[in-house]
Symmetry: C2
Subunit: 142 residues, 2 copies
DNA sequence: AAAAACTAGTTGCATATGCAACTAGTTTTT
DNA sequence: AAAAACTAGTTGCATATGCAACTAGTTTTT
């Protein structure tokens, strides 16, 4: 019996634990990591677009952003032409934390792909991307 | 940049939503599905062993079992030689629900692997299994 | 045999997450 | 221009999950 979803569950849950543990000293949890990273890489992105990019509910995004703001890792600027939109940017402090986040993601990738050949890693990446897209398309179509 | 954990997160979250939606009429959520399945396939299994098999914290298992008991889908028998252990079994009602669970898992697998060749599905299965094992070994080693 | 160590399960607490309903802007219809 | 529709973000509520501390049995040490 296929167990793709089961594996996704295990990989996801254990990844979250690793992230939580590693980020503990910065007071952020696994839930904020994705958002900080994307704000860093796409300065000025809105909460709405973050939700789209990460396939998160906008309430999930809202709460992660709130926490990152409180910790002073990001700042927001309200769009002057459309006051509904927040543009988000990392602060200096946030940029520093991001370096640790990059290292964490790299380390975790090594742990996860231990004993896999380069080509297998690439294949895992490609296949899991396809599975994600299928899942996303299914949900969207509803 | 590799995104294996990101894909696992997406696949997992969307799978959960699919399971929640499909199982709504049986009043169980995505969190109980795994446990009902394994009790069905391994009659008499204990909560502790379920936790091990699924890599869940035993408190997570405890809560899922509690709900399945309340719904009358499983029953428990205390081990006569060791009163700490619950042996779990599905009820008739639980067996009926399991047929729906099997169908759901099959349907979801088809959705997830849409447009993938048999061989690619097999490869995804193998690679994700390896990633899971690496994650599990890492956590264990601590 | 009593004490110490261990084991299966429970409970309190915290975080991550999604859905539904809502608010305050903005854009499109009429 | 007013009403209707839409959009970005917020909030209340619910579930899934893990950790730490605990309880009640069981096994191992001394």
């Amino acid at each position: 019996m296929p167990k793709l979803d089961k594996y996704a569950s295990i990989i996801n849950r254990i990844s979250q634990r690793y992230f939580d543990e590693t980020l503990l000293e910065y007071q952020i949890g696994c839930g904020q990591q994705f958002f900080l990273l994307h704000i860093y890489e796409m300065p000025g992105i809105s909460q709405y677009d973050l939700s789209i990019v990460g396939h998160f509910d906008k309430s999930t995004t809202a709460r992660a952003i709130k926490k990152l703001l409180e910790l002073g890792y990001i700042k927001k600027e309200i769009n002057q032409n459309d006051q509904r939109i927040n543009h988000l940017y990392t602060t200096e402090l946030g940029n520093e934390v991001m370096q640790k986040v990059y290292k964490m993601l790299e380390d975790w990738h090594h742990i996860l792909t231990k004993d896999l050949k380069k080509q297998e890693q690439q294949m895992a990446e490609t296949l899991m991307n396809k599975l994600s897209i299928n899942a996303i398309n299914y949900i969207k179509r509803k």
